[in-house]
């Protein structure tokens, strides 16, 4: 089971975990990304390449399923205007054993960071906006999965 969702609305991690728990594995790992409210941030605007996003995410999920023995993968990524505390992204993985679930979960979020066509613009209380630049740290995190 591989499912990829690109959506404006929020999602319920608990319901997604229940689906992953039902596929018969011994372990379900998840990561949920949330808008941090730092430095007077009032909005995080996520722009994406609508025609490309789902297929790019699907490719990332397929890559994980080739590399680890996974029973289920759910990726959800939101776009649009978010506020601090909002969920941005969900990665959930089910596998027979925990190592595959935990490693592939880390892989999936690292690759979404650097390979899913999203861009983030911060807007602050004073009206100033700023496009988030990719962090060298994120490139390093993604690079550790290169074979």
């Amino acid at each position: 089971m591989i499912r990829v969702c690109v959506q404006r609305e929020s999602f319920a991690p608990g319901a997604l975990l229940e689906e992953l728990e039902a596929v018969g594995g011994g372990g379900v790992a998840s990561f949920t990304g949330i808008v941090r409210g730092e430095g007077d941030l009032v909005e995080l605007m996520l722009e994406h390449h609508p025609a490309m996003t789902a297929s790019a995410m699907r490719e990332i999920a397929d890559r994980a399923a080739q590399r680890w023995p996974l029973l289920g993968v759910i990726l959800v990524h939101r776009y649009g205007a978010l506020v601090p505390g909002d969920r941005i992204v969900f990665v959930g993985v089910a596998a027979r054993h925990r190592a595959a679930a935990l490693e592939s979960c880390a892989f999936l979020i690292d690759w979404l960071k650097t390979r899913a066509p999203f861009w983030k613009r911060e807007r602050f209380a004073d009206g100033r906006t700023r496009w988030i630049e990719p962090r060298a740290e994120d490139d390093r995190a993604a690079a550790r999965w290169e074979v």
């Binding site: 990304g33 722009e47 994406h48 390449h49 025609a51 490309m52 297929s55 790019a56 990524h77 941005i88 992204v89 979020i109 690292d110 979404l112 960071k113 650097t114 390979r115 899913a116 066509p117 999203f118 861009w119 983030k120 613009r121 496009w131 988030i132 630049e133 990719p134 994120d138």
Partner: protein, 85 residues
């Protein structure tokens, strides 16, 4: 051959368009050529495309390098490095 250009994030903001149809001459063969050619269209294009090292591209919804051929492309997207997740 007409190509639909898509622009995202600050590339879109600086150009002032999220998309446009273009018809580059034959000598525009690669993504890098296309960026250089597009930069001459307006001051906004020039500003957005001034530093190709800060740009990334997708051809027909697949990421492509600067030396990729745009020969049969129907759609080319230009944007800053992605920040998903």
């Amino acid at each position: 051959m007409a190509i639909e250009m898509l622009y995202f994030a600050w590339v879109r903001e600086r150009i002032g368009l999220d998309r446009e149809m273009i018809d580059p001459p034959d000598e525009v063969a690669t993504v890098a050529d296309l960026i250089a050619w597009l930069a001459m269209r307006s001051p906004g294009h020039a500003e957005a495309l001034a530093d190709p090292e800060r740009l990334r591209a997708a051809i027909d919804q697949s990421f492509a390098g600067m030396e990729a051929s745009i020969g049969k492309a129907r759609e080319v997207a230009l944007f800053p490095p992605v920040t998903g997740g």
